[in-house]
Structures are given as C-alpha cells and as structure tokens.
Amino acid sequence: MTQYVEYGGAIFVVGETVDQRFDEFQTIVDEYGLTTFVSFIMFKHFAHSSIDELNDDQKESLIEECQPLIREALIQGRTM
C-alpha cells in the first residue's frame, strides 16, 4: 500500500529517508502509469530521463516537481 498524505492541496510522500520517500513516489508513478510524464519533468529539470542518475537532492526535487501530475492522477483515480 502506497504511503502518502494530502494536506492543503499538496501530496506528501511518507518515508523517513529520501530513498524511502522516493521508493513510495515510484510506487505511485508505477501504479498510475505516469512514467512517461515523470520522464518529461526529469528531462526539463535535470536534462536527462533516467531515474538511476538522480542524486538525493534531485530525488526530493523531482517529487516536488511532480506534485501537479500526481495530484491530478489521484483525483481522477478517485472518481473512476
């Protein structure tokens, strides 16, 4: 079960470490089939599209940049 909380319109992925939060984030991305769009965002902000090349700061940043995408997927998922 993916661990996230919504507060004030924002999505917070739950986890004590960056890697835990990033694992949860990737689970959401996989569950909803958002990989292509996450790649768009990575290409824009980090000039590459491979998750394996991200450092910890970039992982945190990617979770933040993907907020609108994740929020939209969750909202649509709820009404299906």
Binding site: G33, T36, F40, P68
Partner: protein, 162 residues
Amino acid sequence: MSTTCTAFKIADLEQSYLNEKARFFYNMWRRQSKNNTCDFQEFVPFSPDLIVLGKPKSKDPMANLVFSGEKTIGAQLFGQNLEKTSAQVYAKLGQGTLKNYSETVSIAQNDSFENCEPVFDYISSEFGDQILAYERLLLPFKTKAGPVFLVGYSMPVSVPSF
C-alpha cells in the same frame, strides 16, 4: 476581448505538408496507441515542445496544466515554469480575460478527454490590442490505471508581447 476556436479534421493534419512536427507527433501517437502499451516514452525527447493537461476545468483557468515544456508558447509568454506561476499570469492578464480564453479552449479539451480522441484546431484570442493565434494538436494519453492526460503541441501563428 474574445476567443474563437475553429476545429479542423485530423485528416487535414495527415495530408498537410505545413505542420510537419504536428504530423510527426500525431503519427507517433497513433502508432503507440495501436500497440496499446500505455508507453509513450518516444515523446520524451520532444517534451520541451509539449504541454500536459489533466481533466479540463473550464471555470478555473490553467488549473489542469501539469507540465509545460520550455519551448512552448506559454513558456515564451510567461516563463518556463508556467505550471507554478498561474497567480502571476492572472495578475498580468486579469482573471476575466483568462476565464473567457479558458472556457473557449477547454471545450475541445473536454471532447478530447471524454472521447479519448485527438483534436486539431485553430485558436485566436484578443489580449488588449494584441492577437494570440496558434494551431493546436491535442493527443489523449490513457495511463494503465485509467487517468487520462492530454498532451498538447501548439504551432504559433501570432504571439503577443505582454
């Protein structure tokens, strides 16, 4: 101030020699859609030219923008992180102006979203004494869990300077 939206047939795009990039995106989308893999990774290198929209919200301008590439008309007009700066755009253009624009352009967005069919049309909008005009291609991407996103590519005809 008014905004108009003129629909074209997708066949016009397929036969056109003028919109080479749009035709390229459409053919790539059609090929990927036929495979039904929900994998559109081929679009990634072209993402600077693209926007991604969620479910249209005609009364809430820009609320469905989840990604804006850095070479799009929106980025050209309002900066590279348009998906995060809607408040600044409201302040610049006025919410009434954006509301009218958004209501008009979201009709075809809604059709594309609901029917999961591509849209090719022409948008023209007056912003004060300037005209924003562009051809627009919307391609629906249905993800494996069900949510639908629209990938948009716009070809500028007239871009104002705000």
